[in-house]
Each structure stands twice: as C-alpha cells, then as structure tokens.
Amino acid sequence: MPSINYLAILPVAILLGTSVLLLILTALVRGGLATKVSTSISVLAGLATLVVSFVQWSYVAGHGATTTIDHAVALDGFSVVATGTLAVALVMATLVAHDWLAHGSVVGTQFHVLALAASAGALVMVQANDLIVVFLGLEILSIGLYVLAALDRHRSASSEAALKYFLLGSFASAIFIYGAALTYGATGTTNISAISYFLAGNVLLHPGLLWAGGALLLVGFAFKVAAVPFHLWSPDVYEGAPTPVTGYMASIVKIGAFAAFLRVIVSGLGTQMDTWRPILWVLVALTTVLGASMALIQRNAKRMLAYSSINHAGYIILGVWAATTRGNAATLFYLMAYAPVVVATFAVVTLVGAPADEAHSIDRYRGLGRRQPLLGAALAVLLLSQLGVPLTTGFYAKFAVLAAAVDAGGGAIALISLIAAAIAAFFYLRWVLALYAEEPVELDRVAVPRASALVIVLGVALTLVFGVWPGPLASLANHATLLFTP
C-alpha cells in the first residue's frame, strides 16, 4: 500500500464526506431536510475546507512541497492556494443557491449534494499529479455539473443545456484521456513529475506520439475552459443552466481546469515548450479577441457573461503561455481575483432574473442603479472589476498576466490581448451605463434576500479591498509558486 498523507486529501474528504452525509440525512429525515439546514451544512463544509487550506499552507511552509499516494497527489503551495480560492467560491455559490432554492422551483438538497461532490472533483484536479487522477477529478466535476445544469425541470432550456454540455463535455473528456494514453505510450508513465523527468533526461527519436498526446491533452483542456475555437457549448450552457449553477460553473470549473492545465502543460510538458507555445499563442489571440467581440452583440445578460468568461479564459491562458514562475503566479492571482467577482456578478443576475429565471434581457437592467442605488452600484463595481479598472483586483490580475507575458518575450500577444480588453470595455461599460440610464422602465423592485446580499457585499469588498491593497494576494500567489513542485 502506498503511504497516505491524510492532511493532503483532507479537503477532498471533507467535501465528499459532507456530500454523502447530506444524501443520507435527506433520506433519513422525515419530510426532507430544510433548505436552511442543508445550506448551513454545505457552508460549514466549505469553511472547513478553507481552514484546512490554512493548515496545509503552514505545513507546506514548514515541510516543503510533497507528493503522496504513490506521487499521484501533490501537496504544494499552488494546490493549497487554489484549494482556498475554491472553498471561498463554493461558499459564495452555495449562499446564492440558497435564496434560489427558497423560491421553491427546485426543492430538496440535490443542489448542495451535487455542488459539494463536483467541488471535490475540482479539488482533485487542483492537487492531481497524475494524468489519470486529473481525468478522474475532471469527471467527478463534470458529471456533477451535467446534472446541476439539468436541475431546473420547469424550464426546457435547462435540460437542453445539460444535454449539450454532456455531449461536448464527454467528447472533451474522451479526447483528454486519449491524449493521456498516447503520452503514456511515449513516456512510459502517466505521472506528471515522472513525465517531466523522463523528457528532461531523454531525447525522443520519434516525438510524434508525444506531440499527438500533448495536442489531444491541450484540446481537452481548451474544451473545458471554453477557449475559442472550442467554446461553442459555453454560451448555450451558461444561458440554459439555472443562474446560480452558472455562477458556480464559471468559478469552480475555471479554478479546477486551469490548475490542472498549468500542472500538465507547464510542469509535465515544460521541456516541450517550443512545441506547444505557438498553439497557445493562437488560442490566446482567438479567445481574447473573439470572446470580447462576440459579447458585444449579445442582448442576454447570461450569454454576455458567457462570452466575458471566454474572454477571461484567454487572459488566464496567457499566464500559462508565459510558462515562467511569474506567469504561474499571475495565473493563480487571476483565478483568485476572478472567482469571487464572477460568483457575485451571477448573484445579481440571479436576483434580477428571479423568480422564473427567464428574464435575463439586458433591458431589465435599464435604470436599475436609479431604482436601487446599492444593488446598481454593486453590479457596476463587479462589472468594472471584470473589465479591469484600476483600484479593483481585475486590474492587477490583467496587469500581472500581461507583464508576465511581456517578460517571457510575448510583446505581440500581450498587445493583442490588450486590444481585446479595449473591445471588452465596450460591453462592460454599455452595461454599466444602462444601469444608470434615464427613463427608467416600469419594472418591479428586485428583491434582495439576505444570503445573496451577503455574497454580493463579499464580492464587492474582496475586489475593492484587494484592489486598493493587492499586496497580500500577490505575495500569496508568488509564494505559492515558489513552493510549486515541477
């Protein structure tokens, strides 16, 4: 039996354990578990994960980065910080879902059970040091998400989104695992560190097999993070899935997939950098520019945010492209800055679209800032943070990624991304201006329940506080990659 470092797998165990516990409680309690109780249990599990990530941090700082379970799971600064970020996003998304569940269109504990299990999958991806473990994490995450997307059975768009997500997601997973199989054939191992050692110590006479494997792995990841041209599923799924699920998806999937992406590409296949860098270059250029331009022509808030998240994926890939310590830190910082903001943005969209979850036209937001100044201002701050305005975390995130790219010799690609950011500014600003438009349309007040209000306040506070004072987050990201084991 391989030795097991239980501290390393504790976050996964907490989330999966709580998920199973909730299932059992639902079956045992007569008349079903109250939403309040199930939400409290999920939030507690998320907070416990956050606390464990702090314990892990001090462990890694004292003992250095380590691997466990036959080197298949890594415990390093990178995984710890990503785990903490994921825990925060999970808690926020759970609170948003609480108010949505209280409307009663979806009853029961399914959301919490699935959300916890899928987050456990994302955590597995974050810590995975073996292609097979990455695949398992990816599947635990994705299968949970397919069901989450189908959760709202009153809207036919929900199940349509689920089927589309399922078909393209499984296609991507099959491509990914075929890539893992070919990489295994080329290097004789699926362990990411072992692949890296093998490639550093050997010259492949026939690198075709490895290149094919690497390319398939890359395509699999590009599908999952919705990079252009593999993004076609994303707007439909974002629009069709219940809005709280969309917010959950936008944050948790990005964290899990990008952490694994970085580990596989930069750490595992780092020696092949000259081969994969041009491919990523094209991906970044297409993703940032097309993501921003397509967002311009959308009239639906959720589709717009889908393209906005595609645009963001482009910047995060830019951090991966840099493939330097600075690039890794920038990628991590971007994820830390982006996750809370996107969950809070979708919290506002959920409230505006409530209760039927149908009214997501951009016209619904006209004059919102005049009717409800606080909610309008909060949404404005969140959108400006996504745009990357100074004094928000979004600014430093974009700056860090671009600086890392320029540092790594990517002046041209940094310039293209910057132009894309200018295009993206149009639709964020158009939305913000609509918030404060004159001639407010006759619309009902948007009800703001307590849990959602808490999430929105938290998102705004995080982006503003760390936007004015980014030092702590930046040093966290930098230290995390110092401890990063190749």
């Binding site: 097979i132 695949f135 398992l136 599947e139 299968i143 397919y146 069901v147 189908a150 059975r153 036919s156 768009a157 199940s159 349509e160 989104a161 689920a162 089927l163 589309k164 399922f166 078909l167 499984s170 296609f171 997973s173 099959a174 491509i175 695992i177 075929y178 199989a181 070919l182 295994y184 054939g185 004789g188 191992t189 699926t190 707007p235 439909d236 629009e239 069709g240 959308q298 639906n300 589709r303």
Partner: protein
C-alpha cells in the same frame, strides 16, 4: 500468431476516429452515446497495448478507471435524455435549438 502492437494502436486510432466522427455528425442522442463509448473503448485498447509492450501494469489498471467513468457518464447522460424525452418526445439533437446566438 503474433500480431504486432502497432496494429492494435492503429485499430484503436481508427475506432477513436469513427467514434469522434459519429459523435459530430449523427443527430440522435442515443447513437451519440454509443459513439462516445466507442471512443472510450478505443482509449482502453490503447492503454492495454502500451501496457503490454512496456510490461507495465499501470496502463491496465487505468482501463478499470476509464470503464467506471464511462459507465457513470452514460448513466447520467441517459437520465438527461429521459428527462428531455418526457418533455418533447424526441431524442434528436436538431430539435433542441431553443437557444441560439
């Protein structure tokens, strides 16, 4: 009779290609599921072949994981198809085009 390993790899690649082609061109959700299974089993064949040529057991162990994942995936997929069929009495992907843009 000794069949060279390369033949197995080529067979797996062809199966994977057939599956991918079918998934992208067929319009019935159920046939798309079958194509997905074909792709995953092509991956299994690849793993077993490499495992055999390298005398390394890890590849064969992986096959079990892939099989479990394939089963779980199809379970969820069929559940979604049933949910859609109840609503619309169709499993054709073409008729699911409520969202566009």
């Amino acid at each position: 009779m000794n069949v060279p390993a390369a033949w197995y790899l080529v067979l797996a690649a062809v199966l994977f290609g057939v599956g991918a082609y079918g998934l992208l061109t067929r319009r019935s959700a159920l046939i798309m599921f079958m194509c997905l299974e074909l792709m995953l089993n092509a991956v299994n064949l690849t793993f077993v072949t490499f495992s055999r040529t390298m005398s390394d057991i890890a590849g064969q162990v992986t096959v079990f994981f892939v099989m479990v994942v394939a089963a779980a995936e199809v379970t969820v997929g069929l559940g979604i198809v049933v949910a859609i069929f109840r609503r619309r009495s169709t499993t054709s992907v073409d008729e699911l085009s409520e969202m566009k843009g």
